[in-house]
């Protein structure tokens, strides 16, 4: 049985621990504290928790003000509201003003499920990626979520967008794992192609790698948990050494991981590329697992894409 952890559940617990260690940490939420798990921090430190009501724009700029006065502000709500509703506030109050605000958004991607397209954020990475001074981190499991949170409090005082999920992820790292912002992790070595994945697609990529291995195909798997600043070296060496790249993300293929990798490849080392993700469409209601299959966000689809890209590579 694969151990699974909800990245938002880990967030809720780690936030309380970080709050105990650092009295400067404050947390803001927009009426979704039970869903984002910031309610645990609210219970432990009621005086340092601010429920801002259903008002995301105000929440972001208020967090900027708290940070300007020396606080470390965590801001949480669903990914779709955190990024879409408050983009200009994030741009001016956080990024341009360079404030120490950490946006930790839950309920990203299609796996929000039954709540349908209005609540499924498939465009959030794209919205955050074009902002100067913004970092973007998408943890591959609960352990990486914990390590990233610890890292961000300790080493980073710029705005960051940490993308979490409602859906529970298989655990792939052990407690010794060391997170470094901007550093990709090669999880499996391989020679014929590279799969670069983020979030829950990392565990799918590892599954696909096993399936391909059984068929005699050797594939490198990279966890690109920091989308920005992206690890260009890891992408270039993967392209040079394996000659073909597949990206896999639970996000639109426009503006997210696939685009970021394509930008690096096309400028520095063009090789055949295939992007797995949501193909420029809105989602629909459904069970999360059914939706992942419906949109081709699974190991089978990665296997298929790897085979296609290897064929393409041979033809080039």
């Amino acid at each position: 049985m694969v151990k699974k952890l909800g990245t938002r559940d880990v967030y809720g617990e780690v936030l309380v621990r970080l709050g105990q260690q650092n009295p400067n940490i404050v947390v803001l939420d927009a009426d979704l504290s039970c869903s984002t798990r910031t309610c645990k921090f609210a219970e432990a430190f009621p005086e340092r928790f601010f429920n801002m009501g259903i008002a995301e724009q105000d929440m972001i700029s208020t967090a900027a003000g708290l940070a300007a006065a020396g606080k470390i502000a965590f801001v949480s709500t669903f990914a779709v509201f955190a990024t879409g509703r408050a983009w200009d506030q994030i741009r001016q109050s956080l990024c341009y003003s360079q404030q120490n605000v950490k946006i930790v958004a839950s309920h990203s991607g299609i796996t929000v499920g039954e709540d349908s397209a209005t609540h499924q954020a498939n465009e959030d990475i794209s919205l955050m990626r074009n902002l100067p001074n913004m970092s973007i981190i998408v943890p591959a499991d609960g352990i990486e979520t914990e390590k990233a949170l610890e890292y961000l409090v300790k080493y980073d005082n710029r705005p960051v967008y940490l993308r979490l999920s409602r859906y529970k992820f298989p655990v792939i790292f052990d407690s010794q794992y060391v997170f470094r912002k901007g550093k990709a992790i090669v999880l499996e070595e391989g020679t014929e192609a590279t799969v670069i994945a983020i979030g829950l697609m990392v565990s799918r990529a590892l599954e696909a790698q096993q399936m391909l291995k059984e068929q005699g195909i050797s594939v490198r798997v990279i966890n690109m948990s920091t989308i920005k600043p992206i690890d260009r070296e890891a992408i270039i060496s993967a392209a040079q050494e394996t000659g073909a790249v597949v990206t896999a993300e639970e996000h639109s293929i426009i503006g997210g991981l696939g685009s970021a990798v394509a930008e690096v490849l096309s400028e520095q080392c063009p090789v055949p590329l295939k992007r797995i993700g949501i193909k420029d469409c809105f989602g629909i209601s459904g069970d999360a697992d059914e939706l992942l299959n419906y949109y081709g966000l699974n190991a089978q689809s990665i296997v298929q894409s790897v085979k296609e890209i290897i064929d393409k590579k041979k033809k080039v």
Partner: protein, 274 residues
């Protein structure tokens, strides 16, 4: 402790000099917001020469009062006052809006000492000021937060989100000021999108509301003193002003919202401000 008469005379002279400075800066820059810079001069003079605690030699002094210019397009007036106080060299004023210089078209906290947070896109400053006031409360600090908005700016929905927040968290260490100059780019505020009745709106949102003559130093200083005594809720001072104040041919003229004076206009204006 309201302003004594001799001090008022001194500050009136400073306000006159600042108007001259602002007009010169804008003419040199060749662009910028004239009307809304001239309407906030007395508000800024009262704050910086009477009310605020700060140290230009140590702009990030933790116990300073915070001032946020939410209506960021009033930047020239703020820059002129900050330079006069010694936050940066007065020579910078001549390079307003020029490439690779300190003074950006709208306030930028990273480049300019004395700017607490970047503003320009309207409606965000009150929220940021609330955040600062919350931080002061958490730290049990004595410093206060002042935030200046435009009347047109209160058309932004975020202002009303922030209005709720300030009252909900009982931010009595926060003072809002509305530069009620009655005009916005496209015309008069009441014709474009009426924000009246302002007093009743802010009161309904849980604020104590004071009104002042925004060009009268005595009226403003009295309001700021009163504001400090209010407990348990935030205070809003509606400062009634005239856009383009101090230059007859700019007063109440929509056309001077986002337009800098020409050389000839500057000459004419300076004659009036002698």
């Amino acid at each position: 402790m309201s302003l004594p008469e001799n001090k008022i005379l001194e500050l009136k002279e400073i306000a006159r000099q600042l108007r001259v400075e602002v007009l010169k800066m804008l003419t040199l820059a060749g662009s910028g917001h004239t009307g809304g810079s001239l309407s906030i001069i007395e508000i800024l003079v009262t704050l910086y020469f009477f009310k605020l605690r700060y140290d230009p030699k140590n702009p990030t002094w933790p116990d300073r009062d915070r001032f946020v210019l939410s209506k960021g397009h009033g930047a020239p007036a703020l820059y002129a006052i900050l330079a006069r106080l010694g936050y940066f060299n007065e020579a910078e004023l001549k390079k307003l809006r020029k490439i690779n210089e300190m003074l950006q078209g709208h306030p930028y906290n990273i480049s300019t000492p004395g700017i607490e947070i970047s503003t320009g896109s309207l409606g965000q400053g009150l929220s940021a000021a609330n955040g600062m006031a919350l931080a002061a409360k958490l730290d049990k600090a004595k410093w206060r937060v002042y935030v200046l908005m435009g009347d047109g700016e209160t058309q932004e929905g975020q202002i009303w989100e922030a209005a709720m927040t300030a009252a909900h968290y009982h931010l009595d260490n926060l003072c809002g000021i509305i530069d009620a100059n009655k005009l916005q780019i496209d015309g008069s505020v009441c014709e474009i999108m009426n924000v009246e009745p302002m007093k009743e709106k802010w009161e309904a949102f849980g604020w104590q509301v004071l009104e002042a003559d925004g060009h009268n130093l005595h009226s403003l200083s009295t309001a700021f003193d009163q504001c400090e005594k209010i407990k348990g809720k935030p205070c809003m001072i509606i400062a009634h002003t005239v856009k383009g104040k101090g230059v007859s041919f700019m007063e109440g003229k929509v056309g001077y919202h986002g337009v800098a004076p020409t050389e000839e206009e500057l000459e004419k204006a300076l004659l009036e401000l002698r």
